[in-house]
């Protein structure tokens, strides 16, 4: 018998506080596996956001900073600029990155900071109890959009991958989903590729991961992934939006 799947050294022994079926757990694992497989775990410094994954600093088995809400790309910039030889990544949710932190992520991309960002898009604010996010879909209900998101009132959801792909310094921009095993495997490939680009000194990279929030969407974990597939993927198309090989 050969072991074909076991827990990576990139995760600590801490049991996560995430809800049953929360896809943070899957993405944490993909990030941790990628760090280990690329041989950078011992050289890595991660920056945790404010949101459900605020305690990510307890789960990744590397040096970690807790950042203020939205500021992770600036914190990562400070770290990478003084330690250019280390691997620096941020892990952020949609409130952190797409709301309060839009200036920081745009400018990290704009300056071409050689960091990697994992962006968890679950179309809602999880930790604070299910409020609307910039990524909440039109018609989707949230505690601060009890009648469903109204486009006339507060616009359509923000497509971060497409937006950042217009920035020259954003050399790797890809959107993936973790709603089934095939997509999870593709997500890992994208994350690993994004991390590889940092190691090659190519510039800023981001992987937007369409994720589920069963608790605040009001679904079982299995139903939530179905909702993701039927509603989020049509609005947030999967694929690579920017790739250093295409860019000059």
């Amino acid at each position: 018998m050969t072991v074909v799947f076991e827990k990576t050294r990139g995760l600590t022994d801490a049991q996560t506080h995430y809800c049953p079926g929360c896809t943070h757990g899957i993405v944490h694992r993909l990030v941790a596996e990628s760090l280990e497989e690329l041989g950078v775990l011992d050289n890595a410094i991660g920056v945790a956001p404010v949101g459900c994954s605020v305690l990510a600093y307890n789960y990744f088995n590397c040096d970690m900073h807790e950042a203020a809400h939205g500021r992770a790309p600036a914190v990562a910039t400070g770290i990478k600029r003084i330690h250019p030889d280390k691997f620096v990544f941020t892990y952020q949710g949609d409130g952190d990155l797409a709301s309060i932190g839009t200036a920081e992520i745009v400018h990290a991309a704009h300056r071409g900071e050689k960091i990697s960002t994992i962006f968890i898009n679950n179309a809602i604010y999880g930790m604070t109890g299910g409020q609307m996010a910039p990524t909440t879909l039109v018609g989707q209900k949230a505690t601060t959009a009890p009648y469903g998101r109204d486009e006339a009132h507060c616009g359509r959801p923000l497509r971060i991958a497409e937006m950042l792909a217009t920035i020259h310094g954003a050399k790797f921009v890809e959107r993936v989903a973790v709603n089934n095993p095939a997509n999870v495997r593709k997500a890992k490939q994208a994350i690993k590729k994004c991390f590889q680009f940092q190691l090659e000194g190519k510039g800023f990279g981001i992987v937007e991961v369409l994720s589920a929030c069963p608790t605040n969407w009001g679904y079982t974990p299995v139903e939530a992934l179905k909702w993701l597939e039927e509603n989020m993927i049509p609005y947030y198309p999967l694929g690579n939006f920017r790739n250093p090989e295409e860019v000059e």
Binding site: D63, H65, R71, A74, T77, G78, I79, H107, H110, R111
Partner: protein, 353 residues
């Protein structure tokens, strides 16, 4: 060593580099923009990194990252920009990280004016950001002192793992005076084994954090912080004073205002008035004990500030009712004149010498 004539804002940069600081994250704002400009020219020459951040908020968070990763790092701004930094400063203080933050004060509140003021005394000494924390606040009165305090400030920050604020004003930033670089007093600086430098597979991960979800843990953390602040209070007070034993009126003033006060005192002395001076150099920890040296014959303390009355509160705390405390201030970027100060002293005298 020959002295060099330097503009205050640039002297700050030169002093920081002398102290081994190679990283600066900042943003333009009058009257301190010459400092980021200086750093943008000089840091690449020594293999350091200057970055103009997208905002003062981003800049303080870059400082937070770099400080947590073990570097000597500085940021600067002026009053409205320092307001933006308050969140980041609270995080830095809570995570117990060293750094130097320079505030070249201008008129306020809000967008205010671009002329000098001392209007952020409360912000610097009473928090500004959320939570129970203290910054070591250093207030130079001339460019040489500015240079000395910055060099020592990096050591203070490292020794206590605490942010240090240099509180200047537009005059300090813009004026030119001759300076020389001196060796600071030797301090035992602990190694930064808490910094995020990558585990190397040789140690457990270091975590830079100010979040303690368990209230008991946060209370313990706060007790540790308070113990540290007590230690700083016992060891780091700096103050200049004179004529306290003989004075009928004592002026309390800091920064450039103290220089104007000194001119007023010299003029009053010629007219036979006996006036003393207390010039706090550390605004936190505040030199409360210095006020005990004032003799009982004193008729009153005149606090002079370029604001509506902020340090005057600390003077009242210091004298604890022993003397009447008076206040004279100019706001909006207006600068008091020696004559205006002298007239107020005479009023306190009540016409008698």
């Amino acid at each position: 060593m020959a002295k060099v004539l330097m503009k205050g804002n640039e002297a700050i940069g030169a002093a920081a580099i002398k102290a081994g600081c190679k990283y600066f994250f900042g943003y333009p704002i009058t009257p301190q923009s010459e400092l980021p400009e200086y750093m943008s020219r000089e840091l690449p020459k020594i293999g350091g990194c200057f970055l103009q951040a997208e905002s003062e908020i981003a800049a303080i968070n870059m400082v937070y990252g770099a400080a947590g990763a073990g570097a000597r790092v500085m940021t600067s701004s002026s009053s409205p920009g320092i307001s933006l930094k308050q969140e980041g400063i609270s995080y830095i203080a809570g995570a117990e990280l060293p750094c130097v933050i320079v505030n070249i004060m201008r008129g306020g509140p809000g967008l205010g004016s671009i002329q000098p003021s001392q209007t952020d005394y409360f912000q610097a000494t009473r928090g500004g950001g959320n939570g129970d924390y203290k910054l070591v606040v250093l207030a130079p009165a001339n460019i040489q002192e500015l240079v000395d305090l910055i060099i020592e400030g990096f050591d203070i920050a490292d020794q206590y793992r605490n942010p240090v604020m240099i509180l200047g004003d537009g005059m300090i930033g813009q004026m030119m005076e001759p300076i020389e670089f001196k060796e600071p007093k030797k301090r035992n600086l602990p190694p930064k084994d808490w910094a995020t430098t990558g585990t190397g597979g040789k140690r457990k991960p270091n975590i830079i954090n100010s979040l303690y979800l368990a209230a008991e843990a946060l209370e313990e953390h706060n007790k540790r912080l308070q113990a540290k602040y007590k230690e700083i209070t016992e060891n780091e007070v700096k103050v200049e004073s004179y004529n306290l034993e003989d004075a009928d009126v004592v002026i309390a003033a800091y920064g450039t205002t103290s220089r104007i006060a000194k001119t007023a005192i010299a003029a009053l002395e010629k007219e036979g008035y006996k006036v003393g001076l207390i010039r706090p150099i550390t605004l936190w920890p505040y030199p409360y004990d210095e006020f005990n040296k004032i003799s009982d014959k004193c008729k009153g303390i005149l606090t002079v500030e370029m604001n509506s009355g902020q340090m005057v509160d600390d003077v009242k705390i210091a004298v604890n009712g022993r003397f009447p405390v008076h206040f004279f201030g100019r706001t909006g970027g207006m600068i008091p004149t020696p004559n205006q100060i002298a007239e107020r002293v005479k009023e306190i005298y009540g016409g008698e010498k």
